[in-house]
């Protein structure tokens, strides 16, 4: 339980708010490159600001404020000729990184980009997509750093054949085994959770001790302030930001990164277009159609009855908490370790900015930022005594075989 005042402080993102000020000290995903094929400028609604994205005279991407109608919807994609740029407003820099335009909504010098895999991989090995969730960004992020929820919310009552797993979460087999991840999550639902603070945020380890002296190890990460990096399959990870459009809506921006073959982007795009409307990237399953809930499916196939796409489960869970989760009624418990640890970093960073100390923010030291690589993110099954070594070696092996420079030394 936190007071309304503290909840406002960590959730609201408008200009001049504490959390909004913090997010304005980090590069924010602003648009997918695939959205820029029509003519420019393109409308971008970000952190409560109504902006337009275009190229300046030097050919660099920039954003600035645009004229807004009072009845304009919050998710709004007008044609270029309907966008009127306002003069004398701050011009924000933007850069393109492997399919995503990142913007820095601040006058101060932006920090460098860390050497995360999604940024340094070849373009052929990264696929980017986004989706709309109608809720505050923080609850969208916090579900992604709770390793326990996957055993319930994403429970599949039987294990599908893994042939059709490409580009889908929790559908592969664990590396070097024949065990489907769906089996592990379902049968071992009480993970031991370990959280370690790192120079980029948090490394979150979920250990599911199985009954034959082995342990399933799933390593995920919180990348400060609002991203996660998690395994998708044996060859892919997802780095996903939860970017506020305003206080009550956000986009997830995902950069799927392959350590193996170049990504079949056409297939992954088609899979996701089946579930989303353009140009808003709004999910076709949503509150209005009860997220596609089917009682028969719930009885026989899935925990939620909302289909096989785990994104819909998460969307239902976080939108169901209300536009901004009421944390005055929340009772966190021990399995919320990563959320507790994350909020501590978040509050510390907000306080540091209130004291005027930018240097205390994570990833704000440009001397060190290029040395931030990885992060490690995988699923392995190991003898319980050596789970850490097995997970680490599996990561090194995958990196060594990678066609782009994935080294972490």
């Amino acid at each position: 339980m936190i007071s309304q005042e503290l909840n406002d402080k960590i959730t609201r993102v408008g200009s001049g708010t504490p959390a909004g000020n913090l997010l304005r000290h980090y590069w924010q995903p602003a648009a997918l490159v695939e959205e820029l094929h029509a003519s420019l400028p393109v409308a971008v609604n970000l952190l409560g600001e109504r902006l337009a994205l275009f190229r300046n005279d030097l050919g660099h991407w920039v954003l600035t404020a645009r004229k807004t109608r009072s009845d304009e919807p919050i998710v709004y994609y007008p044609n270029a000729d309907q966008i009127q740029i306002l003069d004398d407003r701050p011009i924000y820099p933007a850069v393109e990184k492997n399919g995503v335009i990142f913007a820095y909504l601040n006058d101060s010098d932006p920090p460098d980009f860390p050497n995360f895999d999604c940024f340094r991989a070849d373009e052929s090995h990264v696929f980017a997509f986004k989706g709309l969730w109608e809720c505050n960004w923080l609850q969208a992020l916090e579900i992604g750093i709770d390793p326990a929820h996957a055993s319930f919310l994403h429970r599949f009552l039987s294990d599908e054949n893994a042939e059709d797993h490409y580009g889908k979460q929790f559908r592969d087999k664990v590396i070097q085994t024949n065990i489907p991840i769906t089996h592990v999550l379902r049968e071992y639902h009480c993970p031991e959770i370990d959280v370690e603070e790192t120079n980029y945020g948090l490394k979150i380890t979920a250990l599911r001790h199985m009954n034959n002296g082995t342990t399933h190890v799933r390593i995920t990460n919180q990348i400060f302030p609002e991203a996660i990096c998690i395994p998708l399959s044996q060859e892919m990870t997802i780095t996903q930001w939860h970017v506020p459009i305003d206080d009550e809506n956000c986009y997830w921006y995902a950069m799927f990164t392959s350590f193996g073959e170049p990504i079949n982007k056409q297939l992954m795009h088609a899979q996701r277009l089946k579930e989303h409307e353009l140009p808003t990237y709004a999910p076709k399953k949503n509150r209005l159609n009860n997220y596609g809930y089917d009682p028969l499916e719930q009885k026989t196939q899935t925990y939620t009855g909302m289909g096989m796409d785990i994104n819909v489960h998460d969307q239902w869970a976080v939108e169901g908490m209300g536009a901004i989760q009421d944390r005055t009624r929340e009772h966190l418990g021990r399995s919320d370790k990563a959320i507790i640890r994350y909020r501590r970093i978040l509050r510390k960073a907000i306080k540091a900015l209130e004291m005027g100390d930018r240097t205390a923010l994570p990833m704000h030291n440009n001397d060190q930022i290029k040395s931030i690589v990885g992060p490690l993110s995988n699923d392995t099954i190991a003898l319980t005594d050596d789970w850490s070594g097995v997970s680490h070696r599996a990561d090194l092996k995958r990196r060594a075989a990678c066609s782009w420079d994935a080294s972490i030394l």
């Binding site: 339980m1 007071s3 005042e5 005055t328 009772h331 507790i340 509050r347």
Partner: protein
């Protein structure tokens, strides 16, 4: 080093730790649970940026309300406390310093936190824990002296003459940080302009012979780095 009463400096068994405490119970109960779970006699611990509440007229073991009221909520920005649990009590004895704010500004700047204080959500805690033994201290209970080398020692006016058999030669008093353990019961407002939290190096003016100090060798900085930097994070 001749000006110190070295008999009173006794290396003790100490373990750095990090943990999550559940909150919701009164802080003294919550921290007693932590000591119990880790088999510690006592600990020096630090909590940062943690939401708090002080619910009027709520029995210590009664369930907390489902909903927090702004009148009794706030945040600890920084807290360093010596915590020990005299058996068979259920709650810990806490002494230390903190900086905090209440949402209700009418509550004003009182100089001490109430005994009924609770963490409003689970919190991450860093600290150094001490195991039960026969060395009697004022603020850490009965802790365990060690004959082998330890990077942590206690300087206590309580030490009795037989404790002087403990070998302190390996403990480098010239290169250590000293935390003043002589605090009033529970948690006082910490004012950086009047209080020096760490003495460094060990100096006579931090110890007039009646003060209890915790000493941590600086050469072990790696082990203690995160904890020590948290203890210095007051404003």
């Amino acid at each position: 080093m001749g000006c110190f009463n070295l008999v009173n400096i006794i290396p003790i068994e100490a373990k750095p730790f990090e943990d999550f405490v559940d909150g919701y119970f009164p802080l003294a109960v919550t921290l007693a649970h932590l000591l119990e779970r880790r088999r510690f006699e006592s600990a020096l611990m630090v909590i940062r940026v943690a939401p708090i509440m002080d619910i009027p007229n709520l029995e210590s073991m009664a369930p907390v309300p489902l909903h927090i009221n702004p009148r009794y909520s706030g945040q600890i920005d920084w807290l360093v406390a010596a915590v020990h649990r005299p058996q068979p009590r259920l709650s810990a004895v806490i002494s230390g310093w903190a900086q905090w704010h209440w949402n209700d500004i009418l509550r004003g700047k009182v100089s001490r936190l109430p005994y009924s204080l609770r963490l409003a959500e689970p919190a991450y805690v860093r600290g150094v824990g001490f195991y039960p033994g026969n060395l009697h201290t004022c603020s850490l209970g009965y802790v365990r002296p060690v004959n082998t080398s330890s990077s942590v020692a206690v300087s206590t006016p309580n030490a009795n003459p037989s404790d002087s058999s403990v070998n302190i030669e390996q403990f480098d008093t010239a290169e250590c940080l000293c935390w003043n353990l002589n605090q009033k019961h529970f948690l006082e407002w910490f004012d950086r302009t009047t209080v020096q939290p760490w003495g460094c190096p060990y100096t006579p003016n931090v110890n007039n012979g009646s003060t209890e100090l915790l000493l941590i060798e600086q050469r072990c900085a790696d082990t203690w780095d995160a904890f020590i930097s948290d203890t210095k994070a007051f404003t």
